[in-house]
Amino acid sequence: MDLSIIEQLITFIALPFQSFLTIEILLIFLIILIFLIYNEKRQSKKVKYSLISLIIFFFSLLVFYFQEDIVTVLSEIIKTIMRCFYFPNILFYILTTITSLIILIYTILKSNLTKLNKIITYSITLIHLFLFTNFISLAITNNISLTDTANIYQHDNMFIIVLFSQIIFIILILYKLIYHFCHIRHSKLEK
């Protein structure tokens, strides 16, 4: 951790040559890269499919050998997502609110959006911002420090407000994604 930039670079370059296994892994990836580049000229379907199968086989081997570790990593990823959903820290919560605010301002300023889309976006973003304002006012009235996550969530009211805020935020993001996806498809069809 206390290495200088040059030492960090040297360590990084030396990493693939530390053991026979790492050299082997490096060679596999180099071969795949060479084949991919070479195949760009030839455009052979057989090479394409065999390379895809080789990559899948390689990663399947990794999954097979490091099953338990991969399950642990996946569980940790899911747990982090759940933590962000159920018990987000104040920074994450503020970030979602800023996102909501930007979407609201963008919708107000953008003139070529449909009325229905505008109404839906206004409603969802304003509910989200209303919940955030409620959250802040509750914290002020109950004198709750927002720096400690445990401090926030020992109060049921705060927990419920944050939970519903997160649900509303997810609905907003999903709505926006689906809308844009449909919009892109629709414009493609029109063309």
Binding site: S75, I78, K79, M82, R83, Y86, F87, D148, T149, A150, N151, Y153, Q154, D156, F159
Partner: protein, 224 residues
Amino acid sequence: MWLKDQMMQRKSKTLKSQLSKVGFFFLIVGIIVFISTPLRILKEEVFEEMRLAIFQKNINEDNNTTINNVNTENLTVTTEKKEEAEENDKKANYSYIGEISIPKIKLKRGFVSKESKYNNVEYNVTIANISDYPDVPLGNFILMAHSGNAYISFFDKLYKLQIGDEATVSYNANTYNYRLTNIYNQAKTGTVAIYRNPSIKTLTLITCTHNDDYNQTIYIFEEI
């Protein structure tokens, strides 16, 4: 003939598309069913982390109160905290009074008071009615929980324990360290006989025997 062929082709296309839709629906349902239990376990773990964090925070606050518990002003604060704790227990977001930790199997669970309605195997690691609390001299602190695959199987990895493994109990801002000295099985008859050395403070953990529907296992820990 040509029209008939066209009709047949259309019909088979519609049938194929409907079949693929049904297949996709069943695939989604299957995935949901398959991942629902692991997700529930992970959700329970995330909630447990937060409950333990709240418990640790309260312990730290209690410690501060004890240190300052000299003048009468702080005594009032202590009374308020007691009322707050009772109020907390009434809420759905219940609070813990202690925590058991077994590092070897990465077990870290909180427990509520014996009087709490959440002192139940369906919610938490449960304190037996006849159990003493960990601060009772030469007492026996008895905890029970399910084992298996459900999300409430808090003692599902106890079977991995061996004699000599250690456990820690945090209660009333104190930590009690124990070492596993005895493991034995008994038939599930509704009652359990606990064999322990009465001259040493003990921790007893009770759960169903691993891969056995008819027995329960008792783990006896003695204070170090």
